[in-house]
Symmetry: C2
Subunit: 169 residues, 2 copies
């Protein structure tokens, strides 16, 4: 079973955390909420879901985890100003570990300069950012490119979760 | 006196609307709130300031206005998914009319593909986006590059407003 880091800050898109996490736990995987301050409680954008941060990006090496989930909403915008969070994401990409990103999730991968040559999807507001970052944008419910699994929005969650679980098996 | 379009959507950074707009009005300039639906009321991110949208981007040609203000917060993320809003911003840039941008404001100029070769500042979360878009990022309270006046955050508002007013005089 896999140990999955979920990198999260305030104003995350609630369902992009709750639904994949429920499915991952049901499949027997372990979740660690990674955020900017251990013990901090972060809140979802629409439903106010409260999540306790369990570890900071520096608390465990990336080798401690098997995969990374980046929920969307405005959480990635808050995470990408933190060098440790950006380095954490970059290392998952560099080490070719599974990275699951949805909605605004690619923003922090852009700051990590780790999208060049990759094919992915994401929320429509960041399409031009992805293209400028050297990525190829595909408008599809889920895109799998090597270690990188991506989707556009909460509507894509069933296909996203299925593709993530396949990558973990 | 100038007629200034302020392009705005929900979750704008309150003070980045209220303070420049108050200063512009005090100097005798006219403000038109431009948003995705005429009559819509949009709300600020921190203080819930309510602003009534007076016109859509297509309602008046860009020639109707003398300058454009793009407040930050998450408003630019909501505006940049709308083709009319993006075209509106692009036309101000193409026509070399004054464009005042602060915080996340450059995001919509990136979607308009109008930052290439320009020098500017903005909120730290979007620094890499600006660089990938062909802009030169400068970490300073206000940067003036031809028609483009830019600042980083609410703390820069006094310098930002002074530079905007100078551009309008």
């Amino acid at each position: 079973m896999a140990k999955i880091a979920v990198i999260i800050a305030d104003l995350f898109e609630d369902s992009e955390y709750t639904e994949p996490v429920a499915a991952f736990r049901k499949a027997g995987h372990e979740i660690v909420n990674v955020g900017l301050r251990a013990g901090q409680v972060v809140r979802g954008k629409k439903e106010g879901t409260e999540i306790a941060v369990g570890a900071t990006p520096r608390q465990h090496p990336v080798g401690f985890y098997d995969a990374l989930l980046i929920p969307g909403g405005y959480s990635p915008d808050k995470l990408r100003v933190d060098d440790d969070a950006v380095d954490f994401v970059r290392e998952f990409m560099d080490k070719d570990k599974p990275v699951f990103t949805i909605c605004h999730g690619p923003q922090i991968i852009i700051t990590a300069k780790a999208l060049e040559g990759r094919t992915l999807t994401g929320w429509k507001s960041i399409v031009q950012d992805i293209i400028y970052a050297g990525g190829t944008f595909v408008d599809r419910e889920v895109v799998v490119d090597g270690n990188l699994v991506s989707s556009r929005s909460p509507r894509d969650l069933p296909a996203f979760i299925e593709a993530c679980l396949a990558k973990l098996s």
